[in-house]
Symmetry: C3
């Protein structure tokens, strides 16, 4: 079968393979036995065939013998139940035996294969995630807390334990927050936000330690080959911003929830690119056809695999890989899409499309490798705010962090604006516009840095439920929006939350433009403290009061969106902001025609046009250059026609602009 695999890989221009991701039981079949026979054969064959290898340490699932010998290596779940051997991503991150053996396996694999030039990257673990609530993790949590707070007084103050008689008088009184302690109705409902927030941070750090354990072991024999692990995009349990410095490059697995996810994927790519300051990433996994893990697993339509792969490249991917190359014979992923199906055919539609894309990418060579996105807009993405917002009791469980962020990013995406999605600690000095949706928690000097953006003429946009809590999730004992109040020029005393079917229309008005849009879920009542009113509520007892404001701050603006505007309202606001800075893209009014720009290390400017619409679009060219896919010359202004799912990649002679 390997021979057939490699023949088909050649047909499909597969030049890089990830191997060994779940090979622990294979490579260490017993406590004292390491056996690399099969892995040797796989790597040697791949190398011999001229393929690059992304070599996994294989620690994403432990072997059965380990769970039998050390029951504490399995996890205890949120419900307090000790699991036994099964599934994957099943190791307690605090288990000493897991930490020792996983590092040892990584050490031996690195020692064995580091010298093989085919190995171009190390793949540690797999899709880190989940959580453990065992005694070992509880003990480790206490240590983590001791490191952080030093004294119980500081911890009690941070967690506001005076509330509900929670004052801790000994470190060993502290429990992991779970269904058996602080939680009810699941992980988002906690009696003590501070405890839960710290446990989320701790668990993210604990798994990061598993990663760095293995990376350190690899570095013992290989000082250079880059090390990564495959992230999962907007994955709530892990704060990838805390992880990113420890990876040599970012990589992620793109399994969008449905086939209407173009904007969502764009955001996620931007987030992944932002992890390491704009450095290109790998798309480590995607299905060529369908998933298996969903209740309903639709098929990718013709052209979609190609379109989405190019979208990844457009947003910063330097590599595009698949899961899976050949369909598993059995178990839970046997129906997950594969480049090569169970019958081993090369004449399927799916294989054909993979091969066509492979050929294109081969033909393009390295033109986009290492290219950067020249964004002048930053969107702040903050795991702490995500966590704090969604574990909060009140004002509304219906307000979801991702939905708010998606709406603001989508407004930018629709406008054809390149965006960097960055952590709150990022350097903001290079951006014209900074958007901070639902920035619930404001930490450190962020408020001052946002003020500096506005002071020098930039625009800062934030929304309802921003500026509410400090880094311990305690309320600022000031007017809302806390440290953002000066920049925003508003004060919020009250807020109203309503069921999803309640609409309060908002009348937006600026520069002669007017629009009435719907808002839902959350309605803050704004008392302007110097800000201009741009939008007003039209209903309820607060009809006529401010729903959207713009405050002049230095040479720039602070925008405050107090209402849960629907997409058209968000888009209207963002267009006002982008217009001021001349950042609206050339096809902002063409629905689902995505544009993205990358600038290669040699200065080459690449313009990607991606038609996500179900219909063909016709637009005038916004740049002069060569479409590297069709190899046709394009003159600015000439009519371009893109069929559904069509892609153009124009190597531009100058900067693109509205034609």
């Amino acid at each position: 079968m390997w021979t057939q695999d490699h023949e088909l890989f050649d047909l499909a221009h597969v030049d890089t393979v990830t191997v060994g991701v779940f090979a622990w039981a294979l490579t260490q079949p017993a406590p004292d036995v390491y056996d690399f026979t099969t892995l040797d054969a796989i790597v040697e064959r791949a190398a011999a065939e001229g393929r690059d290898v992304c070599l996994a340490t294989g620690t994403g699932a432990h072997p059965a013998w380990l769970a039998r010998a050390h029951p504490e290596v399995t996890r205890v779940d949120f419900e307090g139940r000790r699991h036994r051997f099964g599934q994957r991503h099943n190791s307690c991150p605090s288990s000493p035996v897991f930490r020792r053996l996983s590092a040892e396996l990584a050490r031996r694999i690195a020692a064995r294969y580091a010298a093989n030039p085919a190995v171009v990257a190390w793949h540690v673990g797999n899709e880190y995630g989940g959580a453990c609530y065992c005694e070992l993790c509880t003990a480790a949590f206490r240590d983590w807390l001791r490191d952080k707070y030093r004294t119980l007084d500081r911890l009690n103050h941070a967690w506001c334990t005076m509330f509900w008689s929670h004052t801790f008088t000994g470190w060993d009184e502290i429990e992991a927050p779970s269904a058996l302690t602080e939680h009810w109705r699941g992980p988002d409902h906690t009696a003590f936000q501070g405890i839960t927030l710290d446990y989320l941070r701790f668990m993210s750090d604990a798994m990061l330690a598993n990663f760095t354990d293995e990376k350190a072991a690899i570095r013992e024999s290989d000082p250079d080959t880059p090390v990564t692990t495959n992230f999962m995009g907007m994955y709530r349990p892990l704060d990838y911003h805390r992880w990113a410095p420890h990876l040599d490059f970012a990589s992620w697995d793109n399994y969008p929830p449905d086939d209407r996810s173009a904007a969502r994927m764009a955001l996620t790519h931007d987030l992944m690119r932002g992890l390491k300051d704009g450095q290109p990433f790998w798309l480590m996994e995607q299905t060529p056809s369908c998933t298996a893990c969903r209740d309903v697993n639709p098929l990718k339509r013709p052209g979609i695999n190609r379109l989405w792969s190019w979208q990844a490249v457009a947003h910063g991917a330097d590599a595009v890989l698949y899961f899976q190359l050949r369909a598993s014979r059995g178990a839970s992923e046997k129906y997950h899409g594969a480049v090569i199906g169970h019958a081993g055919r090369a004449d399927t539609r799916v294989f054909g499309e993979v091969a066509q894309l492979g050929a294109e990418l081969s033909r393009l060579g390295g033109v986009s490798l290492g290219a950067r996105t020249p964004a002048r807009v930053a969107l702040l993405f903050d795991w702490d705010s995500w966590w704090a917002l969604e574990i909060s009791d009140g004002p509304s469980r219906l307000v979801r962090y991702q939905q708010v962020v998606l709406a603001y990013h989508r407004a930018l995406w629709d406008a054809g604006t390149d965006v960097d999605v960055v952590p709150v600690t990022a350097d903001l000095s290079g951006y014209d516009v900074v958007v901070a949706p639902a920035l619930h928690m404001v930490k450190g000097d962020l408020a001052q840095r946002l003020e500096m953006v506005a002071a020098r003429g930039g625009s800062v946009v934030t929304t309802f439920l921003s500026g509410r809590v400090d880094e311990d999730d305690n309320a600022f004992l000031t007017d809302v929006p806390g440290p953002l109040g000066t920049l925003m020029g508003v004060r919020v005393d009250e807020w109203d939350a309503r069921e999803a079917d309640v609409v309060n229309p908002v009348r937006l008005s600026a520069g002669g433009e007017e629009l009435e849009v719907a808002s839902r879920l959350l309605f803050e009542l704004v008392i302007p403290q110097g800000a201009d009113v741009v939008g007003t509520y039209r209903a309820d007892f607060y009809a006529g009061t401010a729903a959207v404001t713009r405050n002049t701050f230095g040479a720039g603006h602070g925008w405050y969106v107090a209402a849960g505007l629907e997409q058209d309202g968000v888009s209207w606001v963002m267009r006002q902001v982008l217009d001021r800075h001349g950042l609206v893209g050339p096809y902002a009014d063409v629905a689902d025609l995505e544009t993205a720009v990358r600038v290669a290390p040699d200065g080459t400017r690449l313009l990607f046009l991606l038609n996500h619409a179900a219909v063909a679009v016709e637009v005038p060219a916004c740049a002069t250059g060569v479409d590297l896919l069709s190899e046709q010359q394009i003159e600015r202004g000439q009519p371009l026609s893109l069929a559904p799912a069509e892609v153009m990649l124009i190597k531009c002679d100058g900067a693109p602009a509205a034609p």
Copy 2:
């Protein structure tokens, strides 16, 4: 901050403060250390400022050190899981160490503060509730059963254990009924209703013992100051009728599910007033603005806090308090509404409305204190029937006790009739009308007492699913409705249950009035045994048969409503009944204009008018007197206009009557 608090309390006319509710960790920071320094300061300051103090024992949540030292003090949940330290209301009621230490704390607090004249009430525990299923509770349950049944034969008979091979041959074979024993699909699905019912009774008693433990400890040093705990209205787990004799006055926390709950709140106030035979109660908690614990937490509209506070007074409250006075800095209630927000402002809308109401209440002085409601209608509310109905397998899980009771109470409320909501053991001799919705269980001499009501000319109303089981939840081995059959003059052999979307219209007809209304969920097939048919089904194979009957019994009537009538049908039936007794209020046809009467100890008759409608209403005055709020003289028959949320409190010269 305390100084600011008291300045603001003065502005808001806050004259009473509840303190120390969750102070256990503060007042007993270690097993052998009691420290009242902070509580002393709080109480002394409050007293010095001239405020009354409702002083809590603070045992609603145990301290972390206690859970660490005595793991058995935490609860085991319905799923059989031992909890660890967290949340509140977290103590096993059967735990000896909890019982000892909670009583000891109450003892010490009472000893320390009993002499302080500022202390006007003792607040024991907090919102007792939940349940525990641990070994200690199981053992205590067995003891409770032994006390109740004396012999296993009696227990086996009561529980009908012959069914499904359940005969118990030793007391220690009995388990607490939980997800691990008799239950599936949650607490309402049990294989043995009798076991589950007794456990509900036992658990209510076990928590009551926690209350009486502390009360007894308080009484050691304070023989007089009244002792209460804050109830939660229609709260299923605790039989407040069994608790009420042990409280010196009732108090409760009013957090209605939504802002359309005026009728529901009226019922709940009536229920709380009925706990102690009509004696006034305290409204111990309400939010001035919004809750935080719901998925969606809407804001109270302008005027609503005042309207609802006056509604409490109208139904028997002698005190109106808030939770919370100042917003918590952190944890799960930091977004719960507060009189004083995080910024400490007095110029917010919410503070302003609280202060306005405070001023009104101050101005009124004690005019309504100790006043009683002169109701001639009693509605029976019975925890045993609630439990029995809702843990029953068949005929319909969709029939919910509260919904049935709410519909009948609402009919009375809409009609402007004062109602006492009383236990089945109440003296019924003073009532013209007794309504017993869904009285599933009929105990003791209740049937005879109801017959006496009718015999002397009164009206008794009951419904489907009444008179089905005895106090052990065993079916009466007679025709349905069991002991109510003679009074009702009907027999029921069959009953049909249908999904919520199935309607059977019922044609109602009495005294020349006709109406066709919808009925749903449950349809009993009635064979009249002397009763007159007032309503008939219009559909299905039982079309034309009786759905509502009225039986002449002595000088009065027994009404049987066999169908799940919707509100308009229930209201029609109740209007027939009230009309006969001349009990329809003056504004029965004015939607959402509530009236309530209280008679002060000096005979002063107070008429409350509360406009719950979203629009202004205009009505002729039904009484002559003085509106104590506007200080205006009112002449009977003069037009009155009440804006939305407006309240009038008329000190009447005579009894109100239709103008």
Copy 3:
């Protein structure tokens, strides 16, 4: 009360009673005490009254003392929780003490009553089902696996453990697949289908061993009286085809989900009759009026109990019994319908209808006893395919085995065709048509046997998701549909799954007939390999491609239905097939008029006509003979009128045929 019972039994023509089903606590009140006093009295009285007795061993629920003395006798649930005493069907099937004591009880009961001629059948246990996940079961599972696979290599291959590092290196590393090991989101979501599938098989076998334990004990003293247990129709946890050889006759309890279940009940009766190769079965339980265990328990309409009882007879029942004869006084079935209600009346509608049916059955005598159904159509029903399909990850959780089977059976039922529902191991040589819906797993020589059906001129019909996996649930490494490909003449490379609201219309066309129907949920993309295209998709990128095909194979056909056709599409396909073989019944176009034929041992041909419609139907008679119910002579062609719920039982002079 027994006296009244027997008087009423006489009135109702109750000639057989099942007794002792949950009598363990009664017959063995302590470890060393057996007491048959009460059971003696019951059996003696029944015998004296001339009634037959179906005598239960009473082991469907263990006594409380047993659970107390041997906690391991209770089950551990899927969530890993050890249960304590409660409910019923509560014994761990692997518990040695349960196995020993249940067999001993059966042994003693058989020894005591075997000689009593009133005992006509033994009823072992009750509604076997559920599952256990305890240590004892885990150990027994390992033994079962060792017996099956002999070596771990074979097991690892069968379970495809190379996936996700699951290779087992010791038998004791294997865990029962549960929420604590391989599962998430419940029993259908498993990481390893092979493990879960084998546990389902093991658990079915383990409970079967409980049955055979008791049967063997009975056989020690009674070599002849037939032994059964009451099945539950389409009950997923137990593979009744593996059980059937061990029962002397099949019996089952018919509690359909609603009153529109006529077709479903027909399928289930056919399945039960097919368990023992067409041998008649008993309808062991049905309610005369209503259930109690559902959320909503509607009443059986007038005539329905009779109609459904006759339907059972029409499909092969030789006995029709009720649960319950007298209503339980208490516990969870006190509101379950009963022949005799709590009041003990004979003048209720329900009792009257039971008595009417009893009189009819008495009058008919033994005319239908032992009769067989002369079906020429077989429908394959396969627990392995059911399990494999529903525990599969991908392609769609919305495709449910029962729904697919129901649709194909319903098409046959609507067409008035007698159908045998048989296991995949059945002898197919006698059938003209074999229908295999969703035959996910193809085992042994089944594909060849299906080919033989077609080769000799028969028609074989299968659908999407058939022929996918081998008996270990591993994918066939060939084109889909695996071993069925040759017979079907198609190849499937891709499949699309969509949410339930997505419709792809299918244009069907054959023999000049055309129809456009809806398909949903699953859409396989068919590449014909010789088959004719009968139906084509009308939408999506695969519009115009094959959705239904018919392949000529030998003298017959293989039909492949690749799309999730709605009922009208399935019916159209099946009518094409039946037409070819002349198997469409006389009233195929009369909605809800069911026909069924049984041929008695003496050759008498009985035609049942059952009107399930809510309206009367008029049809010409399709046979000449005598309606045994009305005792009227029928001439073929004469008009017959059947009121709603009416039944005719025509003893035919010849074979029925379209009039």
